[in-house]
Amino acid sequence: MKIVNLNSKITKALLWLVLLILCLILLKSKEYILSIFISTLIYTGVAVAWDIMGLSGKISFGQAAFFGIGAYTSMILSANGVNLLLALIVGGLVAGFFAITVGIPFLRLRGPYFAIGTLGLANVVYILALVLKKWTRGAAGFALPKSVFINRSFSFYYILILTTVILVALIHYWMCYTKVGVALKAIHDDEDAALSVGVNTIFYELIAFGISALLTGILGAFYALYITYISPSNVFSSSISIGAVAMAVFGGVGTTIGPIIGGIFLSFLSEILRNYVSSNFSLLLYGIAIVGTMLFLPGGLISITFRRTSKRQNQEGANNDARV
């Protein structure tokens, strides 16, 4: 799947629009609505973070591993009195560090092996969470002790998650347009050719992997402190990994706006399904979204805006590349 060159004007417009809407939501401070959007933002954030790795062409099916690591780290820290912000950041750092450590051997795997490997990795981390009961409290789950619990409003959490996701999106956007982005695109297109032009592929892949994991870890940490109860089956759930892939793919891989649109869309739909039918239908939805997109619109929803400009791009010069 190619990384589509962003049509800057439409992309920027869409990003601003989405931002505006998300800010306006805050004004409608009905708790129920805020809670839906908080969930949506969490998973959308994971989708954008996933896409950072996706830029390199290596598809990870194990995003949940980082989410859960971030969640447990921040939970353990908070239970010991560490403040919220610090817990979030450290949660992310631990996840990022884990990714880089695992990444060094893993990233040598080509193509589908990397994908399968991440799948297996997520499983192993899940097992570890169950087994290391002393730290994680095992299958019973870990609840934030009442002694450290601070009651905060939904608005607080909303603003926090919105800021975090904006940060994630900014990092993604920045990565697309800088040297790192060029490196990742090159690796994605042709790893050997990338090496031949001087790209240290392992280094850049580790950066992408590490940042992707770090950001996912922060989101997982947020989840833990927001819900105040976590267990292996919900923070290491494969539906987190699956959801991230589905959202990014459905909206448009390789773009910043793609996973955001896909995330909001699919989260919404799955929320509706969860309330009216059952949560199993969310998984079905994700699956259908993925298959449908691959069959009919491989570039995702956002690629609809590309049709018109692609002719121009080939001839005159809609300048969409890294600023040259």
Binding site: S282, M294, L295
Partner: protein, 286 residues
């Protein structure tokens, strides 16, 4: 301990059959079928239901499942795979992953999250082989798996379609040039592979406990076997299967139950790092 060893070898045969379904699709069509695991699970669940409803012995159902899944394979090829088969590999990868999620969610919707087992009068019976007690059912399944694999080899090497499949796996361009109808070959390959996966799935369901996400494990194990034996090499599969079965069995004696599934993953990663071409694989097949 020796029981564990033998039991491990026996289930390895079934694992090998499972892996065969995966490698044929990859070898001939260059598609990495990530819906492999969920398909196995689906076969298991379907077998379970028919057995429960009709009170028949699951072994009798095997041919039926085979035919059913053959048809499924043809449908999946015609409507889902054919449109994207010559596009970048990432697309087919993600597509099969999505298909896997669909199947997995259907399993959840239809059968729920409870654990299921297929029980027969002989499920826990053991027989003595060479002085060692082994699970009776595993012996039967091993023999069936062996027979099926042998049959597949005969088809691949002695029949026209089989040889054509091998040709495609070696050089698709060459196959097209000599006038082979690649579409029909792919259709058959997918069908027969799905059939094998279905039969193997039904077999496995007689030994292990079914739960909705067990599919992921089978994908992992089948990949593990393929990599052990050498991706693209059909010879290495039985060996890979048996090795995995053995490793799992032996480690289950020493490690707690939960690690059982992690073993396959560890073996996979180890092999990929140390000897990515596997035991019999040829580098050009990657």
């Amino acid at each position: 301990m020796t029981t564990a060893v033998l039991n491990g070898i026996l289930i390895g045969g079934v694992y090998a059959l499972l892996a065969l379904g995966l490698v044929m699709i990859y070898g001939v069509m260059r598609i990495v079928n990530l819906s492999h695991g969920p398909l196995v699970a689906l076969a298991g669940y379907i077998t379970f239901s028919i057995c429960s409803l009709l009170k028949v012995d699951p072994l009798i159902l095997l041919p039926l499942i085979g035919v059913l899944f053959y048809g499924l394979g043809i449908l999946v090829y015609k409507f889902l795979l054919k449109p994207v088969i010559f596009k970048p590999r990432i697309i087919t990868l993600i597509l099969t992953m999505g298909l896997g999620y669909i199947i997995q969610s259907l399993i959840l919707i239809v059968w729920g999250a409870d654990y299921r087992s297929i029980l027969t009068p002989y499920s826990s019976r053991s027989i003595i082989v060479a002085g060692i007690p082994v699970s009776f059912i595993r012996v039967i399944l091993f023999l069936l798996a062996f027979f099926t694999i042998a049959l597949m080899y005969i088809i691949l090497n002695r029949t026209k379609m089989g040889k054509v499949m091998l040709a495609c796996s070696q050089s698709l361009e060459g196959a097209k040039i000599v006038g082979i109808n690649v579409d029909k070959v792919f259709e058959f390959t997918n069908g027969i592979s799905f059939a094998i996966i279905g039969v193997a799935g039904a077999m496995v369901a007689m030994i292990i406990v079914l739960y909705p996400t067990v599919g992921d494990l089978f994908t992992l194990k089948s990949f593990c076997i393929n990599v052990l034996g050498g991706l693209g090499s059909v010879i290495g599969i039985p060996l890979g299967g048996i090795i995995l079965g053995l490793v799992e069995s032996i480690s289950s004696v020493f490690l707690p139950v939960m690690w059982n599934n992690g073993v396959a993953f560890l073996v996979l990663v180890l092999v990929l790092l140390v000897r990515p071409t596997g035991i019999f694989g040829r580098p050009e097949n990657l």
